[in-house]
Subunit: 415 residues, 2 copies
């Protein structure tokens, strides 16, 4: 199996002025090809250091993919240094030279000498066309290594990689094995608990591999398998997925790049179910999250933020008896908030959030004690209690996600 | 002058699932310190390859900064591999161990063995506190090299770097000269405009240096001076600050790590001015932002999210005449929303947000057309129009910040 290293050349990366998103893009593409990427390297526009980086990469990687340093300025040095290192000459690629000449002629502008540099390639390399710029790319096999040179700007690099470099890479290096990967998303279980539950699989399994990542109040699990065919790899992934779900399937909410709010709002839109919310300690966070999605006004009508006992009564019409006798951190208050907002906003679902955000306690309840009420037309109103920690804003974000999860569970159960 | 290398450890980076934004952040900070970063490296969760990467980095760099691989799972290996390489033991840091134990005890949850791993540090290292997580960071000097270990999640890494790692780095490696830095925060002016206004200073000035960063709808300017004494450095910073404020001082809202919402809520708390909000396209984002701050219930009472014309009338009592004749994207609607929420919630200030989030237009107004209403007891209600772009969630966040800015301007003018 061929291994690749992505070498980004550019001092602006080392100054933190831009993020190396090119490496992530190429890595994703190569993972899909079944080619392992074991290293990313960033080095500045410095001849000596670039030369050293090339030597180190040749020692540990089969495919060296360079991004950046193909432009017209003095500090663009990638192909010059690599040519010298490989003891190759630089020659002009007529296709790119014509393109540059034409550009300047058609604009009646003077072409400077350094513009021509962008059409120069390393002798013996296959030219990779630049459909969105002037700098020619290169593909070169030499001494058991493959060298690929791509421009730095993502708008030029990405199409060049996808259209011209990647097919050559797959042809020369891929083919033998296929890599298949699946993302599982969990809510309501911590990363360490999930990792403990799956520990034997994570530690002993070589193919597929299992990796867990902590997201914002959620856990992401990636299952990755390699095999000779796509079907075989998918089958391996599927078997491991089933074993994971057998252990912690109750916490799974979705697959791939989807988020829980995205999933739930799509379900509401699909089924034309309208919703409103009454929020105390989350203070609008749930509604703000719903409104992130364009076109949501078809099902989202609005709601209340009742941050004080006073506004719970004045604008949300929660009874003074409930507030006096049960308090605002109670099942009764949550239920009444959900019922009232549903009635006042005239929607199918009303959801409510009340509780103690923290760090201080409230009405004798410790920080992190929260209630979520769910009022649905023609259904019994329910209130659910959760007990979180003392981190105020963590609790608020977690409660909002929990609210989406409760709606999803209701929709799943009443499909 | 010391040179640094940033080593990110994590297979998810090599698969392109996340972008190495940590390296860019740390590079920016080190550039401000006057420390050169010559290499970024990314390596996977693989003991052999990580060990080789450490050796290579020791050969070419003075300071090795690791990000990632400090978590509780089997594939978190950074400190284990480095300890072995340096022939050091791993010991428990009691501060982080207590933090982890307390977390699980307070939730009556079982602490798994792997959780404890996060409190383990390399013997002889200075602990870097993790204010937003459990994994301890480390700072270690050994054999003429400095080793810094930071967690991978940016929400944990950034504060740990800024608060604890960076002062140690500057102290140990900056050395002979004193570095003084000041952060100026601007709202209402774009980064490119500000950079153009300050271009001559940015280009020609060596000491102090001026760097501009685009934040979330704001611009941050850092002025950094070096001198023999703290007083001398502060004087240099102050002179440059005055020159910057002479040019763009009207857009300055604060200094240092403070945010505009934080500043405004502190002013409201200080002056005991109560507030409520009525939000249409921002849908709770303003209120959710206010409620981030503990103790805010003293002045924040709540409000409405009126996402439809219907709820604007039913729960916020906006007159049907205004909605019919002027529409919801109008000065009149914004004013009435602000007046009504102030009356219904019985507060000193009522603020309203109505407009077109985008990407589509509404009532003939293009995406990005917004109105903010400000109703204050014993003052004339005002409505302000702003025209933004087509990015829905960018517009929503920007409007919320604009709302805080309008309140600040009112409070400044009526001190």
């Amino acid at each position: 199996m061929a291994s690749a290293e992505i070498i980004a050349v550019g001092t602006e990366l080392l100054l933190g002025q831009i993020v190396n998103s090119n490496a992530a893009f190429i890595s994703q593409e190569l993972a899909a090809d079944g080619i392992y990427v074991y290293h990313h390297t960033v080095v500045g526009d410095n001849p000596e250091r670039l030369k050293e980086v090339i030597k180190i990469a040749e020692n540990r990687s089969d495919i060296l993919i360079f991004t950046g340093g193909l432009g017209p300025t003095e500090d663009d040095i990638t192909k010059q240094i690599l040519a010298k290192h490989l003891k190759k000459d630089l020659v002009t690629d007529q296709f790119h030279m014509n393109k540059i000449t034409e550009y300047f002629t058609s604009r009646s502008r003077t072409m400077t000498e350094n513009n021509k540099l962008q059409a120069v390639i390393i002798e013996g390399s296959t030219v990779l066309n630049n459909d969105y710029g002037f700098a020619a790319g290169m593909f070169l096999k030499e001494n058991n290594h493959t060298y690929i040179l791509l421009p730095g700007p993502p708008s030029e690099m990405k199409p060049m990689f996808t259209r011209y470099a990647n097919p050559l890479i797959v042809n020369e290096n891929g083919g033998k094995t296929i890599l298949e990967s699946k993302i599982l998303r969990f809510f309501g279980i911590g990363e360490s608990q999930l990792a403990a539950d799956l520990n034997d699989l994570i530690v002993t399994q070589v193919n597929p591999t299992i990796a867990t990542y902590a997201g914002d109040n959620e856990v992401v699990v990636r299952v990755t398998a390699t095999a000779k065919t796509k079907e075989e790899a998918a089958k391996l992934v599927n078997e491991t997925e089933q074993e994971i779900l057998r252990r912690d399937g109750t916490f799974l909410y979705g697959y791939g790049e989807v988020s829980l709010p995205e999933l739930v709002t799509a379900m509401l839109l699909e089924r034309k179910i309208t919703i409103s919310a009454a929020e105390s300690f989350t203070a609008g966070l749930f509604q703000a999250e719903i409104a992130r999605f364009p076109g949501i006004s078809k099902i989202f009508k609005g709601g209340m933020v009742t941050y004080s006992a006073e506004t719970k009564q004045s604008i949300l019409e929660v009874s003074s008896q409930v507030i006096k006798e049960k308090g605002v951190v109670s099942s009764e208050c949550a239920s009444e908030m959900a019922d009232n907002v549903r009635r006042l906003c005239n929607t199918d679902i009303g959801i409510s959030f009340t509780g103690v955000a923290g760090p201080d306690s409230l009405e004798g309840h410790p920080a992190g004690t929260i209630w979520i009420g769910l009022s649905v037309k023609n259904h019994q109103t329910e209130a659910y209690q959760f007990v979180y920690g003392r981190d105020r804003n963590h609790n608020r974000r977690r409660a909002v996600k929990q609210g989406f999860q409760l709606i999803k569970q209701f929709l799943d159960a009443n499909a």
